[in-house]
């Protein structure tokens, strides 16, 4: 009995209208529960890859199968249903700044509500209780009535994690979640992300610039270069040579 991949990407291509070929045929199977880290220099196509999966960008070629369903050209209500199972975490946190911390977590429930009741913010009692629990879990229970923009960067990203978990996401796509954070906050955020997704058995694809964090947390590491996967392997297989190949001779993109 073999386990089906939760996400299976075949020959994924994305060419932007201006002619930029950001993805040139990426194939990748992601197994349930995996914590996958994607590394690669700036412009390699890491963000584009994640954004094609939840259709914030439309792929221009290839196949994406999620949980046995082809989602390459999904749209409308089906896309909404897909998106609620895919949590997204952004480099810039992207919390709705003028809403409270707790409501930002509750936004994760919008995919399960009618558009009207979502618009009116009619969250159920269970949802509210769960949101509080999640905030406590990422160490922000006391902060829940603060406006989101009053939190520090690291705290905001922890709210971002709580929002994704509130979605009951089965797959979390994290696009450089710690790129704007200092080392201490980076540690905290990565630890929470790793811990919470392990406990909930949520599959995770994380884009990172920092190779050391990749090695520390990843089950598998994917190396992306110029829109193509040039490396797939275990953290211990990431040699200096692999890094040099991904980031160029100088290795100037590596924040060790």
């Amino acid at each position: 009995m073999s386990v089906q991949p939760i996400l299976s990407v075949t020959e994924l291509k994305k060419t932007f209208p201006d002619g930029t070929r950001a993805l040139r045929g990426v194939s990748l199977d992601v197994m349930p529960g995996e914590f996958l880290v994607m590394i690669g220099s700036s412009g390699a196509g890491k963000s584009t890859f994640l954004r094609c999966i939840n259709h914030l960008f439309e792929p221009t070629g290839g196949r994406i199968v999620y949980d046995g369903t082809d989602i390459s050209t999904i749209s409308g209500a089906n896309l909404r249903r897909l998106r609620r199972e895919l949590g997204m975490i952004f480099q810039g946190y992207n919390l709705v700044k003028r809403l409270s911390t707790i409501e930002n977590v509750l936004l994760g429930r919008l995919g399960y509500m009618s558009s009207i009741s979502g618009a009116l913010g009619l969250y159920s009692k269970q949802d509210r209780e769960r949101a509080v629990e999640l905030l406590i879990r990422v160490g922000l229970g006391e902060q829940r009535f603060k406006r989101a923009d009053q939190l520090s960067g690291g705290q905001q990203q922890r709210v971002g994690i709580a929002r994704a978990i509130a979605q009951n996401a089965r797959l979390v796509l994290a696009d450089e979640p710690i790129a704007s954070l200092d080392p201490k906050a980076s540690d905290t955020v990565m630890s929470y992300l790793h811990e919470v997704t392990r406990e909930e058995n949520i599959t995770c694809i994380v884009n990172l610039h920092q190779v050391d964090y990749a090695k520390r947390f990843a089950d598998r590491i994917i190396g992306l270069k110029d829109g193509e996967i040039t490396f797939i392997g275990k953290p211990e297989e990431v040699t200096d040579e692999v890094i040099r190949d991904l980031y160029g001779e100088k290795g100037d993109q590596v924040d060790e």
Binding site: N54, L56, R80, R81, L82, R83, R84, E85, L86, G87, M88, F90, G92, N94, L95, V96, K97, R98, L99, L107, G108, R109, L110, G111, Y112, M113, S114, S115, I116, G118, A119, L120, G121, R163, Q167
Partner: protein, 266 residues
Amino acid sequence: MSEGVLEYTRKNLIRRRRIARLIIFGFTVAVLVSAHGTGFRIRDLYRGIPNIIQFLTEDLLPPRFSVWRRFLGPTMETIAMSYAGTFLSVVFAAPLGFLAARNVSPSPVVMQVARAIAVFMRTIPPIVWALLLVSIVGIGPFAGTIALGLSGAGMLIKSYADSIEDIDAGQIEAVRATGAGTFAVMMKGVVPQFSPSFVSWSLYRFDLNIRSAAVVGLVGAGGLGFSLSTAVRLFRYQEAAVAILWILGLILAIEFVTAKLRGHLI
């Protein structure tokens, strides 16, 4: 080398002077032509000074303060007109503002149509709307209210749309990525970001309406403006002076109030 620079900059300087002279000449000609066209004579203005002084000191002043009560009603009417006009504009402009904003509009065609409506309503000044409406619905504050509402809506659609275009796309994207429906994305991703400018623009429009209300009143669309024009038409200039004072006071008072409100709401 330095010779070259000197020569180059000298020529440049001469060229700039020549252009400046040309512009000044053009302006002078334009002023003379338009003065001729409008029958403007410095001499007439000069000779008119005694008349002006006489008008100010004998006809207009002192204001007949004893009639101040008479303008209480029209003042209330002006405020009500402005308020109702603003309300109309806001209700009309809020949805169209969303449709006219590039980043949230459902389609480029819808966006262009919404923008065209805004331009059309904005280019027609309130007084022209008022003139038209007075002949349709008759003299009174109703015509004034609609006139203010229509011209205000044009401005608000554009201001709202521009403000919406300035908001952070990342926050909208994050809400969309949760699987939220379009209306929920608008209310939870766009509206919280947009609300300070929404309040600000709407209050500003109320400010402007108080001024415009006086103007549209002149053509019979109610309020203080109508009282003013009636007084002038009956040659009751000292009463007109009181109306003018009322208008000034009202504008200042409303500006004070909206400034306070803005401070509290944003």
